[in-house]
C-alpha cells in the first residue's frame, strides 16, 4: 500500500512518495507515519511546492506571491530535470515530471513530530496572526459552477466594490482563448494575472505546442514593466497578434489600455496568425512602445 501522500493546499501531490510506495507493498498502518501525515494534512500550507517547514515561517510573506503565482509559472521554484510547466486552464494541479531531491528532503524534515495540539492550532492562526483575508484560489474549489461564479463577480463589481488587487477579491474571470488554426480553445482566468507580461507568458506557454516554435520565450525573468518586450516578442517572433473582444463586441488589440480596464472589458481572446496578423503587427509594435 502506498505511503500516505501529503497534498498541500493547492493540490500538488508529492510524487516522490509515489515512487517510494512502489517499493513498499504493505499497507502502512504505521502510527507515527500516519500521525505525521495527518499533521501535515492539518497544516494550512500557504507555501509553494517544495516548501514545507519553511512555509510556515514564510506564510505571511509568501501570501501575496501565492495569491498570484502559485498556480502558474513557478519560475522561482527550482526543479531539476526538465519539468515542463504546462500552464493550463483546467488543470491547475501542476505536476512536475521529474522529481528531485527537493521533495525528498522536505519530507524528511517534516518528520519531526511536533505536539499535535500546537500543529493543529497552527491551522487557526499561523504565526499568531489571523489568516489573510483573501485566499488563493484552488481550481475547481469550492465546487461552484462558472455561471454562478461569474454572476457573483458581476454583482460585486456592480456594487462598486474596489477590487483588492486582481485576485482574491472574489470571483474569477474565465475567458476563452482561441488561436487561429488550433484544434481547440482554452480558457484562462484573467484575474490570476496582474499585467500584460504575465498574460503573454501564460498564453505563450499554453499555445506553444501550436506555434511550431515560432513563439519563443526569451526567458525574461519577472521584472516589472517588461510587458512591452514580452508582448513584442510574442508578436514579432511569431507573426501572432493578440486581440480581444470587448463588451461592445469589437475586436481590439491587446495592450492599448491599462490592465484594469482591459480585464474589465475583455470577453474573450484571440491569437491571430498568418496573413491577417501581418498587416497588424507593425502597427502594434508602435503601440507597444506606448504601453505601460
Amino acid at each position: 500500500m502506498s505511503v500516505p501522500l501529503e497534498h498541500d493546499y493547492i493540490g500538488l501531490s508529492d510524487a516522490s512518495s509515489l515512487e517510494r510506495s512502489s517499493e513498499s507493498s504493505n499497507i502502512s498502518s504505521d502510527n507515527e507515519t500516519n500521525n505525521v501525515f495527518n499533521l501535515k494534512a492539518t497544516e494550512l500550507s500557504l507555501g509553494l511546492p517544495g516548501f514545507s517547514k519553511t512555509c510556515q515561517e514564510n506564510a505571511t510573506k509568501v501570501g501575496p506571491i501565492f495569491k498570484t503565482g502559485a498556480k502558474r509559472g513557478f519560475s522561482h521554484v527550482n526543479l531539476a530535470g526538465s519539468a515542463k510547466w504546462g500552464l493550463t486552464s483546467g488543470s491547475e494541479s501542476v505536476m512536475s515530471k521529474d522529481f528531485n531531491g527537493v521533495f525528498e528532503k522536505n519530507i524528511t524534515s517534516s518528520l519531526d513530530v511536533k505536539p499535535v495540539e500546537d500543529k493543529k492550532k497552527g491551522l487557526v492562526n499561523i504565526n499568531g496572526s489571523p489568516p489573510p483575508s483573501a485566499k488563493a484560489q484552488v481550481v475547481g474549489w469550492p465546487p461552484i459552477r462558472s455561471f454562478r461564479k461569474n454572476t457573483m463577480a458581476n454583482n460585486s463589481s456592480k456594487n462598486g466594490d474596489v477590487a483588492e488587487g486582481n485576485s482574491g477579491s472574489g470571483g474569477c474571470l474565465f475567458v476563452k482563448v482561441s488561436m487561429d488554426g488550433a484544434p481547440y480553445l482554452r480558457k484562462i482566468d484573467l484575474k490570476t494575472y496582474h499585467n500584460y507580461a504575465e498574460l503573454s507568458k501564460a498564453l505563450e506557454k499554453m499555445f506553444s505546442c501550436f506555434t511550431l516554435g515560432h513563439c519563443t520565450s526569451n526567458g525574461i525573468k519577472g521584472r516589472e514593466g517588461l510587458s512591452e518586450s514580452n508582448l513584442k516578442d510574442l508578436l514579432h517572433g511569431s507573426e501572432c497578434v493578440l486581440t480581444y473582444e470587448d463588451k461592445d463586441g469589437d475586436w481590439m488589440l491587446v495592450g492599448d489600455v491599462p490592465w484594469e480596464m482591459f480585464i474589465d472589458s475583455c470577453k474573450r481572446l484571440r491569437i491571430m496568425k498568418g496573413s491577417e496578423a501581418i498587416g497588424l503587427a507593425p502597427r502594434s509594435t508602435e503601440k507597444c512602445k506606448n504601453m505601460v
Partner: protein, 606 residues
C-alpha cells in the same frame, strides 16, 4: 435472456433519470404505440459510442430491435464528467454532439425531444435539428457550450419550412439552463414566427444580451400554454408586469434583474401583476435585487413550492421575511446571507421543505462576515421533518452537529457538504470529521448521494464502505490518508455508480485490487491523486470493457515512465472501445485499440 437484460437496463435507467450522469450515456426512449403493455415509454440504455460487435453483447439485438422501430421520439445524452462543472475537465475533452445529430437526422425522422447535458453543441447542430425533425418539440441544453444565439435563431425559426404542412408550430420547450452561449445579440428571439403558439417552456436565463422586448411580449401573448418562463438578467423589472399580464397562467417564473428606481407606479403594477398569477408555484431569477420591491411577490408566497434566491444579494432580514411567508415551500436555494437566524426561522415556517441549497456569497475570502454556521443546518434538520436533500456551503462544522443532523433526519437521501477550507477539522475539537460523516451514513440508510469535505482520514471511508449501502454517487476532495480509503469505498459500497475524487492520496493498489468493481460502476474520476501511468495501463489490460482515459495536459504522455503519476484519470465502462473524439492530451490506455474501433454509422446500422 434478452428480456431479462432489457428489464435490468430499464430498471437501471429509470433509477437514474433526474440525477447527474457521466460517461456519455444515451437514453433512448421509444414510443411503442400498440405493443407495450405496461409502459408507454420503454427506456433502453446504451453506452456512449458503442460499436455493434456481432456476438459480443446483447445490445446487438437491442440495436436491431430499435432499428425496426424508427419511432425514436426522445434522446437524452449526458456526456462530460460532473467535475467539468468546476473547470477540472480541460476544453477539448470531447462530447461533440455533431456526429450524433448527423446520424439521428438520418434515421430518426420522428424525433421530438433532445436533451443534452455537458455536451459541445455547435450552431451547425442546432441548424440541423431545426431542419430535420418535423415534429420537434423539446430542446433542453443543460450546461452545454459551443453554440451562439445564431443557432438559437435557427431553432426559433425552424418551422418556416414546415408551417406549410402544419397549422401551428411545434416547439414546446426551449431550455438553456446554465449553458455557455456565445451571445451575439438578442435578435434570435425575434425569429419565432407568428405562427408559433405552442410554447410551454422557455428558459433563457443564461443569456446576457437584451432581447427585443416587443418580440418577447408578443411571443408570450400568443403562447397560451406557456407554463415556465425564465427570463434573463437583461429584462428590466419595469417591464415584468407587462409580461405577467400576458401570462397569468405561469407556473414557474424566473425574473430578470429585480431592480428599478423606486417608483410607486412600478411597484403597484408589479404587485398587481403578481397577484393575478394564481398558478404561480416557482420563482427564481432575482438578480440585482432592490429590497423595496420584494413585497410585490408577497401575494404569491403562500402558494410557492419552489424559490430560488441564490443570486439575490439581499441580507438576512429581507430573505427571512420572504421565506417565512412561504409555508408550502418544498425547495429553497439561497445565499449564505440568510444566516443562521434566517435558517432558524425557515425551520419554523416551512414544514414541507424537502430540499435546501445554501451557496456562499463570497467563497474566496477566509472570513466573509456572514453569520452562517453549522447551527443553521442543524436548525433546519430539526424543524423540517421532510428534508431529504441538502447542499450546504459553510466555513465551520463539527462532529456534534453532523451527528445531530443525522439523528434528526434519517430520511436524507442527498447530503452535500462543502466546508470552504479544504481539510478543515471539527472547529470545536480540532479532530477530523470522520465520526460526523460516519453518523450520517449510519443513520441515513437511504443516502444515495454524498459529498464530503473537511479534514477526513481513512476512517471515514471505512464507515462509508461498511454502512452506505445505498450510496450511488460519492464526491471526495482533499481527504484520506492512504489507499485504504479508496479500498474501503470500492470494496464496500454495493450500490456505487459514480465516484469522483480529487486531491486525495489514493493510488495504484486500491485501484488494481478492485478492478471488477469498476465494471459495475458508471464511472470513476480521479484527479491529482497518486495513480501511476503504469497502473492505468495495467487496469486497462485487466479490464477490456473499461475505457481508461488518462488526461495529461503536459503533452508528453508517450515518453513518460510508468512510475509517473497521471494528472487526471477517467474510467468508464463501454462495449465499444476507445472513443474517437479524444484530443491529443487524452490517451486511452487500451493497448490494442484497433480491435475495437467503431464508427457512429455502425452504431445506427446493422
Amino acid at each position: 435472456m434478452l428480456q431479462v437484460f432489457e428489464a435490468r437496463l430499464f430498471e437501471l435507467v429509470t433509477g437514474e433519470i433526474g440525477s447527474e450522469l457521466v460517461a456519455g450515456r444515451i437514453v433512448m426512449a421509444i414510443s411503442f404505440r400498440e405493443e407495450v403493455l405496461e409502459h408507454s415509454w420503454y427506456a433502453i440504455e446504451w453506452w456512449c459510442q458503442r460499436r455493434i460487435f456481432i456476438g459480443n453483447c446483447y445490445v446487438v439485438s437491442l440495436a436491431m430491435k430499435i432499428r425496426r422501430f424508427p419511432e425514436v421520439r426522445s434522446v437524452e445524452l449526458k456526456w462530460k464528467p460532473h467535475f467539468a462543472d468546476f473547470n477540472l475537465v480541460p476544453d477539448g475533452w470531447g462530447g461533440y454532439f455533431y456526429p450524433w445529430i448527423c446520424e439521428m437526422a438520418r434515421v430518426y425522422p420522428l424525433l421530438e425531444e433532445i436533451k443534452l447535458k455537458r455536451m459541445v453543441v455547435t450552431d451547425e447542430c442546432l441548424e440541423l435539428i431545426s431542419k430535420s425533425f418535423k415534429n420537434f418539440k423539446v430542446l433542453v441544453l443543460s450546461s452545454c457550450e459551443g453554440f451562439s444565439t445564431d443557432g438559437l435563431a435557427a431553432i426559433a425559426a425552424n418551422c418556416r419550412h414546415c408551417c406549410m404542412l402544419f397549422a401551428s408550430w411545434n416547439l414546446r420547450e426551449l431550455d438553456l439552463r446554465e449553458s455557455e452561449v456565445e451571445d451575439l445579440s438578442g435578435h434570435w428571439l425575434s425569429h419565432f414566427p407568428d405562427s408559433c403558439t405552442s410554447l410551454q417552456s422557455l428558459n433563457m436565463s443564461c443569456l446576457a444580451s437584451e432581447v427585443n422586448f416587443s418580440a418577447l411580449q408578443r411571443l408570450i401573448a400568443r403562447s397560451p400554454n406557456l407554463k415556465t418562463l425564465r427570463l434573463n438578467r437583461a429584462v428590466p423589472l419595469e417591464k415584468l408586469s407587462t409580461l405577467l399580464h400576458r401570462a397569468p397562467q405561469l407556473v414557474e417564473l424566473g425574473t430578470g434583474a429585480y431592480s428599478a428606481e423606486i417608483r410607486p407606479n412600478v411597484y403597484s403594477n408589479l404587485a398587481e401583476a403578481f397577484s393575478r398569477c394564481k398558478e404561480l408555484m416557482g420563482l427564481s431569477g432575482f438578480w440585482d435585487v432592490v429590497p423595496s420591491y420584494l413585497p410585490a411577490i408577497y401575494s404569491v408566497c403562500s402558494r410557492l413550492t419552489s424559490l430560488n434566491l441564490s443570486y439575490a444579494t439581499i441580507q438576512s432580514p429581507d430573505v427571512t421575511k420572504i421565506v417565512t411567508q412561504c409555508p408550502n415551500l418544498q425547495s429553497l436555494s439561497v445565499l449564505d446571507y440568510i444566516e443562521d437566524a434566517g435558517l432558524h426561522a425557515l425551520s419554523l415556517s416551512c414544514k414541507d421543505l424537502r430540499e435546501l441549497r445554501v451557496f456562499p456569497s463570497d467563497p474566496f475570502v477566509a472570513d466573509a462576515n456572514v453569520s452562517l454556521t453549522e447551527q443553521g443546518l442543524v436548525a433546519v434538520s430539526e424543524g423540517c421533518l421532510k428534508l431529504q436533500s441538502v447542499l450546504y456551503f459553510c466555513r465551520q462544522m463539527s462532529n456534534a452537529a453532523l451527528t445531530t443532523i443525522a439523528k434528526n433526519r434519517p430520511n436524507l437521501n442527498c447530503f452535500r457538504l462543502c466546508i470552504l477550507e479544504p481539510r478543515a477539522p471539527d472547529y470545536l475539537t480540532l479532530e477530523p470529521l470522520d465520526n460526523g460523516f460516519g453518523a450520517i451514513v449510519d443513520h441515513c440508510k437511504q443516502l444515495q448521494r454524498l459529498s464530503l469535505s473537511g479534514l477526513l482520514t481513512d476512517l471515514v471511508f471505512e464507515y462509508i464502505g461498511n454502512r452506505a449501502k445505498k450510496l450511488e454517487m460519492l464526491s471526495i476532495a482533499f481527504a484520506g490518508d492512504s489507499d485504504m480509503g479508496l479500498h474501503h469505498v470500492l470494496s464496500g459500497c454495493d450500490s456505487l455508480r459514480k465516484l469522483e475524487i480529487r486531491d486525495c492520496p489514493f493510488g495504484d493498489k486500491a485501484l488494481l485490487d478492485n478492478v471488477s468493481k469498476l465494471e459495475t460502476m458508471r464511472s470513476l474520476w480521479m484527479s491529482s491523486c497518486s495513480v501511476s501511468l503504469g497502473a492505468c495501463k495495467r487496469l486497462s489490460q485487466k479490464m477490456p470493457r473499461l475505457n481508461v482515459e488518462v488526461i495529461d495536459e503536459q503533452g508528453d504522455l508517450d515518453s513518460r515512465s510508468d512510475n509517473s503519476p497521471v494528472e487526471k484519470l477517467y474510467v468508464y465502462r463501454t462495449v465499444a472501445g476507445p472513443r474517437l473524439d479524444m484530443p491529443s492530451f487524452i490517451r486511452n490506455m487500451d493497448q490494442n485499440p484497433t480491435c475495437r474501433r467503431y464508427s457512429l454509422e455502425k452504431l445506427f446500422s446493422e
